[in-house]
Point group: C2
Chain length 283, copies 2
């Protein structure tokens, strides 16, 4: 596995690979890799000749008072895991490489960027869209793999790709979970021993809604209340939102309608903020 | 010369050309081509295997009350001129092709986009940056040629290219002028017979500053006043601004300092708004 720190060297390498007829797959990450990331790398591996994994904790997508400083980092471990999962090139620029002094250009996907996660994290999706565009321009992939865990991020990236005519296919990979259902996240390491079991209620609430909808329940108000109760009954928690969305537009809906429904949620256990979601077929 | 209307077809064609080792040069225009545009096409011709000229009157860069509706258009004439100047592919999408319903992604180059032209035309440079990025993503050029006439646009585009890690070289071509010095512009056709001679004062004022600076004058206040007087003495006019700028940062300066100075101006004759500029070496 080759490690590249310079965006210029990465871009030149990517251009040479493309000219040589190689298919490039990229997996953008913020490092502290877990099985979820490794599944993305595995997907890129199956669809590409050359797999580029990027590691960059992007300051532009963290708001004031968020966890940029304490976001977990472990480069040596990431390097081993990335290589083991099939990465050919690890691109790991530092902040000055990606945002030199005077950086002034930002990409905004209007509408979706200010709702839900965007409402709780102002500027977050502008930071996401900008860094993803930069990473795509540097790594020149044919396919880029993102995890469904960050459902709104996936929507923002797909919308940007369409609107800006980017010639790349976005592959969305399913959420990887612990045995007890907790969605894998680099932030799970923040959870205190007493918080960890409570957090399993998030996925239980999503599964409850899925079962109820499968059984014919159509009331969004009732389902939301039941989900909230499941989460609250597990112990102290601050639920930021539970949202029922039309997947194709990422807009909140007051009714459960075919062909599918996306439920997303965010909740805080102590200082740890977690998100999760489920896509439910509706007949 | 091939004419392409579809962005997908243009992008696929560009990708095939690149894969085949061809160098692509692009000249983005809003049509109603004049000798200035043709000089850009000529430059692209000398630096590329395949020259793509784009024609798109971009609604996103016109403000409310501006001249989008009446902006001059003549596709048949443009087609002949573009081909005669050495265009291989004419890309001429319509507005729905570039901005389908629901388009929501915009690129903003902060700072420079809100001064001078940006102050008089709010949103203009966001429209410019967004369409240029889309056109670059669609035509995949190795080199893109822009005219120095739109000095602030050139700065915005170069800054975007740097900040977003776009793998394209921006070639800036010198201003082409009428014999009496008026900078070529598609908007010159708006000028009434009594306004046309007055408008030559713009370049005269720029040349005056150049001569004075060459002769040792260093007072920005004095030079601006003399330029204003030259323009006003030619007859009725509304001067939007005369700006003395550091070329490398596109920031207004209160002093004339080495190695060079950029003077830009905008003025209105009746309903016609013209811009011009000059880059002056300072020893």
């Amino acid at each position: 596995m080759q490690i590249i720190w310079s965006s210029k060297e990465m871009q030149d390498t990517a251009e040479q690979l493309r000219s040589g007829g190689k298919r490039i797959g990229v997996v953008p990450t913020m490092g502290f890799l877990h099985q979820g990331h490794l599944s993305l790398i595995g997907l890129a591996r199956r669809e590409s000749d050359v797999v580029v994994t990027t590691i960059f904790v992007n300051p532009a997508q963290f708001g004031e008072g968020e966890d940029f400083e304490r976001y977990p980092r472990n480069f040596d471990r990431d390097r081993e895991l990335a290589e083991g999962a099939g990465t050919d090139i690890l691109f790991a620029p530092d902040a000055m490489e990606m945002y030199p002094e005077g950086h002034a250009t930002f990409v905004n996907v209007e509408g979706v960027s200010t709702t839900l996660e965007g409402a709780f994290r102002p500027g977050h999706f502008m930071g996401v869209a900008t860094i993803v565009l930069k990473l795509l321009n540097i790594t020149k992939p044919h396919v880029a793999v993102f995890g469904q865990k960050d459902a709104q991020q996936v929507f923002v990236v797909q919308k940007m790709v369409t609107d800006l005519n980017l010639d790349v296919r976005i592959h969305v990979a399913p959420i990887v979970r612990e045995e007890d259902g907790l969605a894998l996240s680099s932030r799970n390491v923040y959870l205190q021993p007493d918080e960890r079991p409570r957090a399993t209620a998030l996925y239980r609430s999503l599964r409850h809604a899925e079962t109820q909808i499968h059984d014919g329940e159509r009331s969004v108000v009732k389902l939301k209340k039941e989900m909230f109760d499941i989460i609250a009954q597990a112990g102290p928690v601050q639920v930021d939102y539970i949202a029922f969305l039309e997947p194709s537009r990422f807009r909140e809906t007051a009714s459960v309608e075919p062909p599918s429904l996306l439920i997303t949620l965010a909740a805080r256990y102590g200082t740890t903020r977690l998100i999760d979601n489920i896509l439910i077929p509706v007949s």
